[in-house]
């Protein structure tokens, strides 16, 4: 490249940084951190941040823990501002559509916001109880937003007779733990064989089940909740289970996982659907055909990107770190040209606190077929375990053993052999790898049919068509 081309390119970048227009849709962790990172990258143009909640960006992990317990008020988890962000904040108004050809984001208010570059960070929402009438009963809650947490905290503070938690993933288990700490009777209903099975597999799930029962949780596994009954005042009273049993409960916490907020992208021609938004490891969104776009970026819970450590499989990571690290990469790439772009290659990591145990994990546990306990004591719930796939270590989990996690992280990063070499001390009793016992497949989802149309390369393309009707 000659000097004058170089100078022209530098001018181009500089001019975009000065006069470009960037819109971020989603004003939670990923959106805020991306806005800060854009300013740090020297972007001085017009920046708009759109969020459907009226609140300033806040931190969600405490909502199912400290907030429910009443230690921290729900409106006291605002995210610290790391940089001054001079942005136009459009809070409390949802984005409802994307017009790619004209580069416009349509808002629920009818307004249209133009952009040169767009960052999609709309994240996920809680899956609601499927029966709307039952879901509307007083005392039935989902846990995702600070408003949710404030309502549940008030309901728990009123000392209900019994709380029913439907779904024993991390959120449900954390909520059950809080209930027990508050001395409330709690029943947990989980359709799978144990808590946390989806994230950590059946072997760890069995330990989590013991933990719950030891702390006085009435844990029912292998059962679904079929319906909720209310009283004349519209308050929830009892739940019917698929095994014919019934539980009286005056608070019901529905924790059935999350749904990705991609509906607003319908018809936009992006690779957006229940799986999230497909993108490359540089956070650039794919269009519906899987062709990378240049002006639209995706980050956070809904970004589905290929990960080099996991055979380039496309993953979504609903983890805090993924939002923060991804935001930095996306922001950098939004104001850089191809040669300067960064890859988003996080080593996935998450944590949870429940029943007095600090659970931490690195890597992608469900990618593992086998698990081996490597350090500590299962009985005392202080241990480390590693997950393996094709003779390589792909993930690790610790219960009250987080200071060792880095050892496993380093091995995962270099795809070291599985099982890892045994430690010199504090060896667990069982040291043989066993099946990690992840569910065979997810509950079938109603997938839209993908239809390929056209023949000529200029016409060939994909379409999604609803498979219902």
């Amino acid at each position: 490249m000659n000097a004058s081309t170089k100078a022209k390119i530098a001018d181009l970048v500089e001019s975009f940084k000065t006069t470009g227009r960037i819109v971020i849709v989603g004003a939670s962790l990923a959106g805020l951190r991306a806005a800060e990172a854009l300013r740090k990258e020297g972007f001085r143009g017009h920046l708009t941040v759109i969020g459907d909640e009226p609140h300033e960006p806040y931190d969600r992990p405490p909502l199912s823990k400290q907030v429910l317990k009443g230690w921290v008020a729900a409106d006291h988890t605002k995210l610290p501002r790391l940089e001054t962000v001079d942005a136009e904040w459009r809070l409390g108004v949802a984005a409802v559509g994307l017009d790619r050809p004209n580069r416009l984001v349509r808002l629920a208010s009818g307004e249209q916001v133009p952009f040169d570059r767009l960052l999609i960070a709309t994240g996920t929402r809680a899956r609601q109880w499927p029966n709307p009438k039952e879901a509307a009963l007083d005392g039935v809650f989902t846990i995702r937003t600070s408003d949710d947490a404030a309502r549940i905290q008030r309901a728990l503070a009123a000392r209900p007779e019994r709380v029913l938690v439907i779904g024993a993933g991390f959120i449900g288990s954390e909520a059950a733990s809080v209930c027990r700490e508050l001395g409330l009777a709690v029943t947990v209903a989980e359709r799978g064989p144990a808590p946390l099975v989806g994230a950590l597999g059946g072997v760890i799930g069995a330990i989590a089940a013991d933990m719950q029962r030891d702390h006085g949780v009435d844990l029912r596994t292998g059962v679904g909740v079929t319906s909720l009954d209310g009283d004349a005042k519209g308050r929830v009273r009892r739940a019917h289970f698929s095994d014919g049993n019934m539980v009286e409960a005056d608070v019901v916490l529905v924790s059935l996982g999350s749904i990705r907020n991609t509906e607003w992208l319908e018809g936009s021609g992006l690779a957006a659907g229940f799986w999230g938004v497909g993108c490359d490891a540089g956070c650039r969104a794919f269009d519906i055909n899987g062709v990378v776009t240049d002006s639209i970026f995706v980050v956070g819970d809904i970004a589905r990107f290929p990960h080099v450590l996991y055979e380039y499989q496309f993953l979504t990571l609903e983890h805090w770190d993924n939002a923060v690290l991804g935001a930095e990469v996306a922001a950098h790439n939004m104001v850089s040209l191809e040669a300067d772009r960064w890859p988003h290659l996080p080593l996935p990591a998450f944590w949870s606190g429940q029943f007095g145990v600090n659970i931490k994990s690195v890597g992608v546990c469900p990618f593992g077929k086998e698990i081996v306990f490597t350090q500590g004591s299962i009985k005392k719930r202080r241990f480390a375990a590693a997950y393996g796939h094709r003779g390589r270590i792909v993930a690790a989990v610790t219960f009250n053993h987080g200071k060792w996690l880095q050892y496993y992280a380093a091995q995962i990063e270099r795809s070291a052999p599985f099982p890892p070499p045994p430690p010199g001390y504090d060896r667990p009793r069982k040291t043989k790898p066993i099946a990690a016992a992840f569910p065979d497949s997810r509950v079938p989802t109603s997938l839209p049919d993908v239809v390929l149309t056209g023949h000529d390369p200029t016409e060939r393309g994909a379409e999604f068509r609803s498979s219902i009707g």
């Binding site: 350090q375 202080r382 200071k403 060792w404 880095q406 050892y407 045994p422 010199g424 001390y425 504090d426």
Partner: protein
Amino acid sequence: MANLTPWQQALLYTNRANPYPLYTELRKTPVSRQPDGSYVVSTYREIVSILHDPRVSSDLRKRSKADGSEAREQTTAYDREPSMITSDPPEHDRVRRAAMLHFGPPHLPNLVDSQETEIRRIVGGLLNKLEGKTRIDVVDEFAYPLPVGVICGILGVPKEDEPHFHAWIEAFMNGLDLGPEAASAAQQRLREVGQQGLQQLKTYMARLLVKYAKQPGPGMLSAMANERSGERLSHGELLSNAMLLLFAGHETTVNLITHSVLTLLRHPDALEKLRRRPDLIVPGVEEFLRFESSVQFWPTRTALEDIDIAGTTIPKGAPIIVVYGSGNRDPSRFKNPDEVDLEREDNGHLGYSSGIHLCFGGPLARLEVQIAVGEFVRRVENPRLVVDPPPYRHNQIFRGPRHLLIDIDGIRE
């Protein structure tokens, strides 16, 4: 002394004030075998890897009996029962938990923060005493009295006994030499005196613990001696850990305060910046911890298996020395490592180690140094170094100036 390895040279007293050029030399071989069969780890990445490797032990009893290294000789002397710093899980975890029960979260989340008033009172008093003076010794008149006062209060060690245990600890520190000079007649004599000091400290601490067991008093030691839950330690465990906490609870902080002042006086830009932006003291102290680590290295680790690292195999049974002071200046981890940057980003220094043996008292030490150095910068007018480099103490691990003479124009309100 010809034919010394860079590591042996770094241990010579003449290089105490500035071991860093030798560390640069050392890092050319990240893991280097020494003539005595020990392995010195000097690069950041490799140190972190060793600190997190469960095939590396901190328990000297697991080291080959044939190893007559000075580290083993001297550090086991006071460790009849190992303290938490020289033990492995699960014992280590149990003891650390038992101690943390009386020091920090979740049981005492406010203990460290509640010291702030007392720390400010001590620091204020020390600076007030300097009014009217034009030449002061930062070590004796400022850096030493604060941590010793704070740790006595927290542990429940009577402050009036300070002159005694100060002398014993100092003797032990002076007697500890892990380098080529250890064999000299003079050092052998110091070693004798040091071992006596250690014995006296042990007798003193044992009596104090027995006293507290009979008659509970204030502080952490009494609480631990009277613990009735499952987290109760044996007398031997309590004794070695009480000695560790008293020692580690102030010696390292004295060095950190002194080094912080020294570093600021050597870098007037940083001093001026801190004057203008006092809140930089928080990241500033992290930078001082990186720049002049209070614990330069740690010699008690042992490989329990053959460990492949940085193109070398550390054989099973070999002693491992991790050189924090070198890792903290590793240019492959820190940009411009020999510069002081109060706003350094991603300052993952090893000044408090890493992994399960991460400094137990770090949160307390941070608070002490932040207040002490912050107030020093705010109140001391026109401080100037008198001697540079200042005279250093003999000890190689707990490296710090013995005196730091400075001239001042006065003390502000």
